[in-house]
């Protein structure tokens, strides 16, 4: 009798476990069953934040769950990204991943490495544009570089902070062209552009979107953008490559989740991002901000991040930043 009671108990336990595990597998199949959080490692209102919020709206429709966008600024994105890295790899905590992820290790900004994440997809490309005052004595990159070669160390180029992507872009141009610039760091791209308009510096290498107003106001001119191909938003502006300087560099943004996120969850997220980036709303917003919609799926983005890590580590180790 005693034994049969134990046996029944055993059956109940086994049955219960089966049911529970069954349920949990049902849960996994039903991802997402509660709200998802996207962590933006920068302040509210910036380009990264706005991009994330608009993508979140599109993903929300595709996934049928609420997506919260939370800002965790600080440490060149290190604070927010570290938090996501430490989160459970279940697809409910996503990080906006900026280009800075590939520099953290080399610049010792934090202990983040680019392979700490599984990458869902790329959203945007943020082209760097060499911009000067409209009355400057140079109209092409070639003339600009010649001028700089003739006046070594005198041409001042503004960027958005020491070690920022735009600082690196100017240093890269320096490396390729052999000219020597005087790099002036500002607290963000907008103050650098303002200083350029006031004639306090000679050029900026910041995001094309930041200088558009100045160009329209007839105060600035863009000499070239540092992308592979011309930007459809400004078809008249040549690329650096066309002008004879092999300089392709820029910022980008994508989404990532902690390493070890299940494949089926990744698939769903990736599909929702693809859908969100294809929407007209997203495209309009991105092009108005002077950025380029550049969707890459999980596989391509992962490869891209790996390539960029090698590219930037190589570039940064040759540069003398901070000066």
């Amino acid at each position: 009798m005693k034994n049969s009671k134990l046996f029944v108990l055993f059956l109940v336990v086994v049955f219960g476990m089966l049911v529970l595990s069954g349920f949990s597998s049902v849960f996994a199949a039903d991802y997402p069953d509660h709200e998802i959080t996207i962590v933006v490692p920068y302040n509210a209102g910036g380009a990264s934040d706005m991009t994330s919020r608009i993508v979140a709206t599109g993903m929300q429709e595709a996934l049928g769950q609420t997506i919260l966008v939370v800002n965790k600024p600080g440490g060149s994105g290190g604070v927010g990204m570290s938090e996501v890295r430490a989160a459970k790899p279940d697809g409910y905590t996503i990080s906006y991943i900026p280009v800075e992820i590939v520099m953290h290790e080399t610049l010792k900004l934090s202990d983040l490495k680019s392979d700490d994440f599984d990458y869902i997809g790329q959203l945007t490309l943020v082209p760097s544009a060499l911009t000067v005052a409209v009355d400057a004595p140079y109209n092409t990159v070639k003339e600009f570089v010649d001028y700089a070669l003739a006046h070594p160390g005198e041409v001042t180029i503004g960027n958005s902070g020491a070690g920022s992507i735009w600082h690196i872009a100017a240093t890269y141009l320096e490396q390729v062209s052999g000219a020597k610039f005087n790099h002036i760091p500002f607290d963000g791209a907008a103050p650098a552009v303002t200083a350029l308009m006031g004639g306090h510096i000679n050029a900026v290498t910041v995001n094309a979107g930041e200088v558009l107003s100045g160009v329209e106001a007839g105060k600035l001119k863009i000499l070239a953008i540092m992308t592979e191909e011309r930007d459809p938003n400004m078809p008249d502006v040549p690329t650096m490559k066309e002008s004879g300087f092999e300089v392709v560099i820029g910022g980008w943004g994508g989404l990532g989740v902690p390493k070890g996120t299940p494949a089926d969850v990744m698939e769903k997220l990736s599909a929702s991002v693809e859908k969100a980036t294809a929407s007209q709303e997203f495209k309009d917003f991105i092009s108005q901000r002077g950025m380029v919609v550049n969707y890459k799926n999980s596989t391509d983005f992962t490869k891209f991040v790996a390539d960029q890590t090698v590219f930037f580590s190589d570039l940064l180790s040759k540069m003398e930043l901070g000066g």
Binding site: G45, V79, T156, D187, G199, I201, R289
Partner: protein, 501 residues
């Protein structure tokens, strides 16, 4: 000019359509609310509400977002006056006389004077915006790193005027402010300083967190000592100005309007600078400078006017050149772009309705805020009557919540608590708090601008080659000498006559 006024009338027609008035009202109300809650300032509120404006027409969206901006400027005053907790840097100086007024049961006076001042400042600066926009915008561009540095030196000298009774204690306070500003990554060299290895400190400390700790929390801690005593404001005094207070108050409002407007034009400044300069200026011009800090209406009126007229001034570089002068304006610029409008001179030509509608809505918004605030002043004033036992827990919760929302982390709450304890100790030592907060805001910009100037000019030549720069620096020296002299003669006379201190 006549043309501008004609366009303004057209804009007014847009702005007073019922829907736009409603959006303007919503914007102002939300702005007031976030101004009252520390932590979320107008910058964050504007950013968070931008996605809600997708479905609206561009004019309505911009009208609402602008409402949040200047509504927030009004709201920040309320907490400064009532609980001595500035919600943003611009309201720090409002605490100096606003809170003593509230302690005397005259919170209503402080709030009303601030509301009238903000209204006048707002309206005058919009007139400036309409009439003087293009030539001024070009002039303002002359402010490069060197000129900015000189302006900040000037601002720093003004801080000396806020030091309270003792120069030494004031200097201690200034150095604490400088020390706090050094924490984090230096944008010029990229070097990371005083972070104690913490990732969260790389971005530096937040002014909001520091203010809530130093001002709000320390006030609670000091108040806890006499919680058992019922030293409450017995009654709410009349919220009318007394005889003899009208003159200086009106004067300070008019001076504040012009000051704020011109400061707004200069890229890279913050609304804390005109507020600070206005306060120091009023104190210097006053017939009874010793009363500043004890609760006098003109000490509230001047700075509050200046930080509101700053808004109108700051719109000029945005509309004429596409330059965002302050973080909030940068977010507004994002909102324009989101609705397919690029701020800049072409905007006036391509979308006059949007530009003039927005400008006209600022008139409407200021009227709405005046109507909302003047009757409310008496209601708010009653808050000062709530017994501390009930008020303190609420203030504490609001402060913790506010600190948390700065970067959505408990880390900021921790910093706020530490600042609160430091603030308590400083209060016991009679060291003034306002210079800490203001120097913190100014010195960060000051360090950056001098390093930029040195780097651009490969030396200090930028400083003496610029007439604007030299003028400001000479003025600074004069002010510094004058205040040191005043301090000295003051001490001497006090030494001879005073026996009550």
């Amino acid at each position: 000019m006549i043309e501008s006024l004609g366009s303004l009338m057209q804009g007014l027609a847009v702005a007073i359509s019922p829907m736009n008035i409603l959006y303007c009202f919503i914007g102002c109300a939300v702005g007031m609310l976030v101004g009252v809650l520390p932590g979320i300032g107008p910058t964050e509120a504007t950013a968070l509400l931008i996605p809600l404006t997708y479905g609206m027409s561009p004019v309505s969206a911009i009208i609402m977002l602008c409402g949040i901006y200047y509504g927030g400027m009004y709201g920040g005053t309320i907490t400064s006056v009532l609980i001595n907790t500035p919600g943003e840097a611009a309201s720090v100086v409002t605490c100096l006389d606003g809170y003593p007024l509230a302690k005397q049961g005259r919170a209503g006076v402080a709030l009303k004077v601030a509301a009238y001042g903000s209204f006048v400042g707002g309206i005058l600066s919009i007139f400036g915006l309409v009439l003087l926009a293009p030539p001024l915008a070009d002039w303002a561009l002359k402010f490069g790193p060197s000129e900015m540095f000189a302006l900040l030196v000037f601002g720093m000298c003004m801080v000396v005027g806020l030091m309270g009774k003792s120069l030494i204690r004031g200097l201690v306070s200034i150095f604490i402010g400088l020390l706090l500003a050094l924490v984090g990554m230096d944008t010029v060299s990229g070097a990371v300083r005083f972070t104690l290895g913490s990732n969260q400190l790389v971005g530096g400390l937040s002014i909001v967190t520091i203010c809530m700790g130093l001002f709000g929390l320390s006030e609670i801690l000091v108040g806890m000592e006499n919680l058992s005593q019922t030293n409450k404001v017995s009654s709410v005094a009349s919220s009318k100005l007394r005889k003899g207070e009208w003159g200086p108050t009106i004067g300070s409002i008019i001076r504040g309007s012009f000051l704020g407007f011109f400061m707004g034009l200069i890229p890279g400044t913050s609304s804390a600078i005109p507020a600070l300069i206005s306060y120091s200026m009023e104190k210097r011009l006053s017939k009874h400078p010793e009363k500043f800090g004890t609760g006098i209406p003109e000490g509230v009126a001047g700075p509050e006017t200046a930080n509101n007229s700053y808004v109108g001034g700051a719109m000029i570089p945005l509309f004429t050149l596409g330059i965002p002068c302050s973080p909030t304006i940068a977010i507004l610029m994002g909102a324009f772009m989101l609705h397919g409008l690029t701020p800049g001179p072409t905007l006036f030509i391509e979308n006059p309705i949007v530009v003039w509608g927005t400008i006209a809505s600022m008139f409407v918004g200021n009227v709405i805020l005046l109507i909302m605030n003047v009757p409310l002043a008496n209601v708010w004033a009653k808050v000062a009557q709530i017994p501390n036992k009930m008020l303190y827990p609420v203030v504490l919760i609001v402060a913790i919540l506010g600190a948390y929302t700065v970067s959505n982390s408990m880390f900021e709450v921790g910093i706020m608590l530490v600042c609160g304890v430091i603030g308590y100790l400083l209060k016991k030592l009679d060291i003034p708090m306002a210079p800490i907060a203001l120097v913190f805001v100014l010195s960060e910009m000051m360090e950056r601008s001098i390093l930029q100037s040195i780097k651009i000019n490969k030396g200090l030549s930028g400083l003496y080659n610029s007439p604007i720069c030299m003028t400001l620096l000479i003025l600074s020296v004069i002010i510094l000498i004058a205040s040191l002299f005043a301090e000295y003669s003051n001490k001497k006379s006090r030494f001879l006559t005073s026996d009550d201190e």
